[in-house]
Amino acid sequence: MLLHRFLEESSERFPDKTALVADKRRLTYAQVESEANRLAWALQAIGVRRGDRVAVWLPNGIEAAIAIFAALKAGAVFVPLNPTLKADKLRHILADSGAVALVGLRRHAALFADLRGGLPDLHAVIAVGKGGALPEGIFAYDALIDGQPSSPPPAAVIGIDLAALIYTSGSTGLPKGVMSTHDNMTFAAKAIITYLENRPDDIVINVLPLSFDYGLYQLLMVFGFGGTLVLERSFAYPAAILRRIEEERVTGLPGVPTLFAMLLQLDLSAFDLGSLRYLTNTAAALPVEHIRRLRAAFPHARLYSMYGLTECKRALYLPPEELDRRPGSVGIPIPGTEAWIEDEAGNRLPPGEIGELVIRGAHVMQGYWHNPQATAARYRTGDYPADRRLYSGDLFRQDEEGFFYFVSRKDDIIKSRGEKVAPKEVEAVLYRLEGVVEAAVIGVPDPILGQAIKAFVVIAEGSGIDRRTVLRHCRRHLEDFMVPKEVEFRASLPKNASGKIDRRALANEA
């Protein structure tokens, strides 16, 4: 099934229903459908063809949602990018994906003009926001869609075509684009809708970036079941989120442990949160104590503990009725899929033993864009071509009744605020600061962030580098969730037998 049919079908069923609430505006399904169609025609008019990549670099808002569906309707593949992404990484991803078009904010127009010079594939940039004249090759969003037809443009796309490249951090430090077909994404979205028992009267609030698959799927799923999405910029203001839940009578709150930890610091009794039917958590495990407190604070809401990775979207969920019995579990495979645990030799392990989680089903994505080596390390084929399996890279165990428990990661990826941070990526940025001789990055436990990023740095004598210099440099080159919280200066860093910096030794000290 085609992903944009989610929007088209809901628009046929509920044209006058509120689909999207964002930026102090309310759009019906008919309005979203019509604006997405107009932008899709415009994309085709500026040269976007079937299979081309269209990058969407916008904060959560109406244009971001429209651009994603417009790209699909034009037959293209959307590439959602974190709005706090910095120029170097933006350039890397645009080059890696070969994006032909980019939808971004007008205030970055100077950067776009600069980018176009070095990126021959990038034909056009669409700038969102008010303002005057734009440099050549940069089109104003409003002017571009003006006068375009409001019915869908022709686009010969089928279910096995790519719908999205979703970039994720890898242990090598370079972000990789997970190739996701229309069939993969609609399958995953429907499986999640099934176990959440979503209905058209559900109103979901999304405070997670649309560049993060967990945030993105809130948009996709809500349009899939014909509900209403309340789209917020971020969860920086937890009280504002609670007020929005109250005002909009929100029924579904997807969160990550950091968001729930922030909410639990507030006096929740000051808000009427009785409309909430369910809460979901993924990206990292909720501390059992937080589960207990959330259950007490939201007695009428079902709480889902889940586990997934961009490479298959979602793998496991715990049916809420099991939560009190096994609060530490992330559950069972999502509907229509399977999962098991293997040892290094490929043997399936019995309950109680620890091994790698392996996932099989129509949600297993196609691998990494233009990176067969990385794909081969994660994705393997079983007995026949369609029997594809995803090796999660995470260690799990199962209980006697088959419920899964996360144990640890196999690599040293850090999970901060629910997002993946590759130590290598942060270290690479640190090494680019003149005067840094050695750098190592680890995750340290943090009550709000889950893991906070800590950098160990050795500097050249007389370089004058201090904590501020390091942090300023990091903020200039990294998305906000990757910026270290702590910096420690050392005279040297511990090395292992092969002479490489030993992050584990640092973690054991910390």
Binding site: T84, A236, Y237, T258, R475
Partner: protein, 87 residues
């Protein structure tokens, strides 16, 4: 008085979020979130800072963008709070 508050907040943001002494790097009207000056967990640090520095108590329901999303808004908020708490 209010210019002092504004200057103190301005300097704190420069020092702790932008890591610079360059006054020009921060427009007092700029939205912390829109411009990516302060991220989602940074707001909590900001709350602790204003509570400690200005001796006010930030109530949960006041933790809103209209009070916290720029140097100017935050300075106005602190000023209002101080008046309230004094009376």
């Amino acid at each position: 008085m209010d210019t002092d508050i504004r200057r103190t907040i301005h300097r704190y943001i420069l020092e702790n979020f932008l890591f610079t002494d360059d006054d020009e790097a921060l427009d007092d009207e700029a939205s912390f979130l829109e411009e990516g000056i302060v991220d989602s967990t940074g707001i909590l640090e900001l709350v602790m800072f204003v509570e400690e520095t200005f001796g006010i108590t930030v109530e949960d329901e006041e933790l809103l963008p209209e009070n916290f999303d720029s140097v100017a808004q935050l300075a106005d908020y602190v000023l209002r709070k101080r008046k309230e708490e004094r009376t």
